[in-house]
């Protein structure tokens, strides 16, 4: 029971309280870039969830069983990026094979998950927080869920903004920035939550 409570607390923390996009400000590039349509936002979110979970798994294993015993922790960043890049390549191949339309919709942002600092962020955070293996994987999953949630919320708002009557100067990117700011403010409300 205590374990479940811990997992729940972690989920709330990763999805809302310490949301990667709106509280830690990681992964802002796809947040603005792929949030024009709900469909592609959902696809991107799924890809990020997959990459984050897998990255958490592999980086934790590499850190614990390779880097620490050999005392070469300083290679952490480079080894993690190597892992993440390979995973993204794998995801890209899978998506291209199974969902060509999604592949086209995501466009350049799919390979850009490689440099999505949220993925590297969650990997390094797992190590810094000294999570156990299972918790590291769960943290990756929840972080991805948080990212997807925010991305879809943003996409929903922006789809409506397309039809809204706005001053010409505010159309497109400016209003997206304002909306992003408002969402960050709203998520600030979660920061008081503690378990």
């Amino acid at each position: 029971m205590e374990l479940l409570a811990k997992i729940f607390a972690m989920a709330i923390a990763a999805i809302f309280v310490q949301n990667f996009v709106l509280m830690r400000f990681l992964g802002l590039c796809p947040y603005i870039g792929v949030s024009k349509k709900i469909d592609s936002a959902l696809g991107m979110g799924m890809a990020v969830i997959f990459v984050m979970t897998m990255a958490s798994t592999f980086t934790w294993l590499i850190q614990t069983y390779l880097l620490v015993p050999l005392k070469i922790e300083f290679l952490q960043t480079i080894a993690f990026i190597l892992t993440i890049a390979s995973l993204v390549q794998l995801v890209e191949m899978i998506i291209q094979k199974t969902a060509p339309a999604l592949y086209k919709a995501l466009g350049v942002f799919l390979p850009l998950i490689t440099t999505n600092c949220a993925v590297l962020g969650v990997a390094i955070l797992n190590i810094n927080e000294e999570y156990t293996f299972i918790f590291a994987i769960l943290n990756g999953l929840f972080a991805g869920l948080g990212f997807t949630l925010v991305l879809i919320l943003m996409a929903g708002i922006r789809e409506r903004l397309e039809r809204a009557e706005l001053p010409r100067t505010m159309r497109g990117m400016p209003i997206a920035m304002i909306v992003a700011g408002c969402m960050a403010l709203a998520f600030l409300g979660f920061s008081g939550l503690k378990f």
Binding site: I62, I72, I78
Partner: protein, 302 residues
């Protein structure tokens, strides 16, 4: 020293493992792409207008190669694109009958429309027609919020000095975006070879349509054109004369008899000129003949 070795070994091994893994995955998830699809996709205009009936240029390219779709469906591309595609596929080019948009309404300007009320709502035709049958008196005519202009990707629809929508024949590619955009279904794609059009879509009775049309060019269902047409290319459909373009021979006789000028014939002046020329020519020939005759008679008398 050992740290350097460990570092090199660790990253090297990781790199090799990932490399092998990706190589395996790329074999497993390999997607075969016919190079022809890529080539055709490059030739197509890339505007994704959907005139071909496929969700985009790349989908059409794929359909041509994989499902033997017709190669003359791309309206914006025109004959050049068809010839290029035919070259890639190694087949004979079929020429497309180029179609352009025709707006079947001559009203819709600021100066030639009778208003039911002043419309100050959302600036789209789709919204305007919803408010008690639109702001203009004619229930069938243009409501001038310019959805067609917004829909046109090729900048082919313009407003003239009266605020009327004019279609630029050179720029129009016949993609049909405006046809879909117009909530009153005023726009139709017609072969560029057909020049005579009935520019009214009102199904009102003659008295009503004459009264409500701000341009006074409504079809009043008098059926004069139907009777006049030598090839029976005009039909009455529910109080509206409609040209059946397959039969029309561009003779323009219907435009001559139309009492309200609802039928537009751009060749009218050309025809009049030709007629005048022919008349003049006939007269000169006649004069010459007469002259010849007189000289002949003179010679005879001599």
């Amino acid at each position: 020293m050992s740290i350097i070795l460990y570092s090199i070994a660790t990253l090297g091994i990781l790199g090799v493992i990932y490399g092998l893994g990706l190589a395996f995955a790329s074999k497993k998830f390999h997607v075969d792409i016919d190079p022809k699809i890529e080539q055709i996709n490059e030739i197509l205009p890339g505007v994704n207008c959907g005139a071909c009936g496929y969700p985009g240029c790349s989908a059409y390219a794929e359909a041509i190669v994989k499902h033997n779709a017709e190669i003359n469906l791309c309206a914006p591309g025109g004959d050049d694109v068809i010839a290029d595609i035919a070259k890639i596929l190694g087949i004979e080019a079929i020429s497309a009958d180029k179609k352009i948009a025709v707006i079947h309404c001559q009203s819709g300007g600021l100066n030639n429309t009778f208003f039911r009320y002043e419309y100050h709502g959302i600036c789209t035709c789709k919204a305007a027609v919803l408010v008690s049958s639109g702001p203009n008196l004619c229930n069938y005519g243009c409501v001038f919020q310019n959805d067609c202009i917004a829909a046109c990707q090729f900048d082919a629809i313009h407003l003239d000095e009266n605020g009327m929508r004019i279609i630029d024949k050179e720029k129009c590619t016949g993609c049909g975006a405006c046809v879909i955009a117009c909530p009153r279904n005023l726009i139709e794609l017609v072969s560029i070879k057909k020049r005579v059009h009935i520019l009214c879509t009102s199904h009102d009775k003659g008295v009503v349509s004459r009264k409500v049309c701000g341009n006074k060019t409504a079809c009043i269902a008098c059926t004069l054109c139907v009777k006049k047409c030598p090839v029976e290319a005009i039909e009455m459909q529910n109080n509206l004369a409609v040209i059946i373009y397959d039969k029309c021979i561009n003779c323009g006789q219907c435009a001559d008899v139309c009492p309200t000028s609802a039928i537009f014939d751009p060749l009218k002046e050309v025809r009049a000129k030709k007629k005048a020329e022919a008349k003049a020519k006939a007269e000169t020939v006649k004069k010459q003949l007469e002259k010849q005759k007189t000289t002949e008679t003179l010679e005879d008398t001599n």
